[in-house]
């Protein structure tokens, strides 16, 4: 067993080759890096999609910036939450934004969400097969709307695989998050408010710190406002309201 482990080490240094057991170690190591990142959850509702994330980088000395390290708007109808190496995520976000605008330029229509996901995933996959470059250390949750399939939620990882989800999570404590969501998510019966509530509940349970405050959370929704679909971050005051509601529920019953 020790010998096999020693042998496998020789196959790590090149990202684009298989190990003798048929694994891509670099991809796995990338996923390991992501498992230490702030949790992000995505929940699909009939009225929109919720993305909620825990911000790991908090310091009193940090300038409160308008931009988030977790949530990004790709286009008016698509947003995403990321978990992993922020610098890597920035490259992918930029690529996704370009892909969306390129599509719009060619077809004068919004890019269908799954096609955007596929474009990004095809890029990620390239880094596992050629070029000799390491994979992106980022998992992404995509929340969007298109005329074809309505509201959708997708999740992709460093391998370039993706799946469509009703509720899912990336980053740290995904197992705990998934088990809570598995129990509490009701397909077809999740109005936006319920999805928001569940997202905050999941994060408060899986989060590191004992007391989760509104400034440590980033929540956003992709939903219809004024007759069109748009992405909007949740104001901190509303986040606080949700946190209070979750705390109350925990205190009142055995949640």
């Amino acid at each position: 067993e020790l010998l096999e482990a020693a042998m496998s080490r020789r196959y790590d240094s090149r990202t684009t080759i298989f190990s003798p057991e048929g694994r891509l170690y670099q991809v796995e190591y990338a996923m390991e890096a992501i498992s230490h990142a702030g949790t992000a959850v995505g929940i699909l509702s009939s009225e929109g999609v919720v993305l909620a994330a825990e911000k790991k980088i908090t310091s009193k000395l940090l300038e409160p910036s308008k931009s988030s390290e977790k949530m990004y708007m790709i286009d008016e109808h698509v947003a995403c939450a990321v978990a992993g190496i922020t610098a890597d995520a920035n490259i992918l976000i930029n690529y996704a934004r370009q892909a969306a605008q390129r599509y719009q330029f060619t077809y004068q229509e919004s890019m269908p969400v799954e096609q955007l996901v596929q474009a990004l995933c095809d890029t990620k996959q390239g880094y596992t097969q050629y070029g000799g470059l390491r994979p992106f250390g980022v998992s992404v949750l995509y929340a969007g709307w298109d005329a074809q399939h309505g509201y959708q939620l997708y999740c992709s990882d460093p391998s370039g695989n993706y799946g469509g989800w009703m509720a899912t999570s990336i980053g740290a404590s995904t197992q705990a998050a998934q088990s809570i969501m598995k129990q509490e998510y009701k397909p077809g019966e999740m109005p936006l408010q319920a999805a928001l509530q569940l997202a905050v509940k999941v994060l408060s349970k899986t989060c590191d710190s004992a007391n989760l405050t509104a400034d440590k959370l980033d929540i956003a929704t992709v939903t219809q406002r004024n007759g069109r679909v748009s992405y909007a971050p949740l104001p901190e005051a509303e986040t606080k309201t949700l946190l209070d509601a979750v705390a109350e529920e925990a205190a009142s019953g055995d949640a």
Binding site: F105, T106, Y107, Q108, E109, P112, E114, Q115, Q148
Partner: protein, 208 residues
């Protein structure tokens, strides 16, 4: 297709006419296959079904008609295969325009005028004018080529919103009469096709 070629001038001789009806789009072209002053065929079909609900009528360079028309058709098929659904007429028209525009400054000019007629479930029937300089317009009725000079007044006077197929056909027949009476070039036959909720249909085959 090179703009310097003599055939460039010939592009304007071909007639391409279209109108939007109540629940269909009707496209017509002359059925001449001309080569300089010789008409080689009277039964040439210048319309191409791009997919189940899109029709592309073309006028101009005959080589481009086949090569570029099929190029667009195959790329639309590729999109549908990749994504599980076809492009909307609006998206296809803009894609087409982009390809023509690309040709303009890359030495591969596409010497064709187009009318793209389509039917979408939500939008209903639509008609897009696109010329060889990549000017794209969504219209109710329009024509390309010299025949347009004879046909535009008729379309202006006779087209109404929500015409039945019979009414649309009557307008097209008046257009044919005007062309055959007043246009110098002999155009004995025309091709008329319709696209609606059920797909593409030939009303008058090339050469009839």
């Amino acid at each position: 297709a090179c703009a310097q070629r003599g055939a460039g001038a010939m592009a304007q001789i071909e007639g391409v006419i279209g109108l939007v009806g109540k629940d269909y789009t009707m496209l017509m072209t002359d059925s001449n296959f001309a080569d300089s002053i010789l008409i080689r065929r009277h039964d040439y079909d210048k319309t191409l079904a791009l997919d189940k609900h899109k029709l592309l009528a073309m006028g101009g360079d005959s080589a481009d008609m086949v090569q570029f028309g099929e190029y667009i058709q195959k790329n639309l098929t590729l999109y549908e295969l990749r994504n599980g659904f076809p492009l909307s007429t609006h998206a296809a028209a803009n894609y087409l325009r982009g390809e023509v525009a690309h040709g303009l400054r890359s030495g591969g000019m596409v010497l064709l005028d187009f009318l793209l007629g389509g039917y979408d479930k939500e939008q209903g029937p639509s008609l897009y004018f696109l010329d060889y300089l990549a000017a794209l317009h969504k219209v109710n009725k329009v024509a390309h080529g010299y025949p347009a000079m004879f046909v535009t007044p008729i379309l202006d006077r006779e087209w109404r919103e929500g015409m039945t197929e019979a009414e649309g056909l009557e307008v097209m027949n008046h257009c044919i009469e005007a062309i055959q009476k007043r246009f110098l070039v002999n155009m004995p036959s025309f091709t008329i096709k319709v696209v609606d909720a059920n797909g593409v249909r030939t009303i008058r085959a090339a050469g009839q």
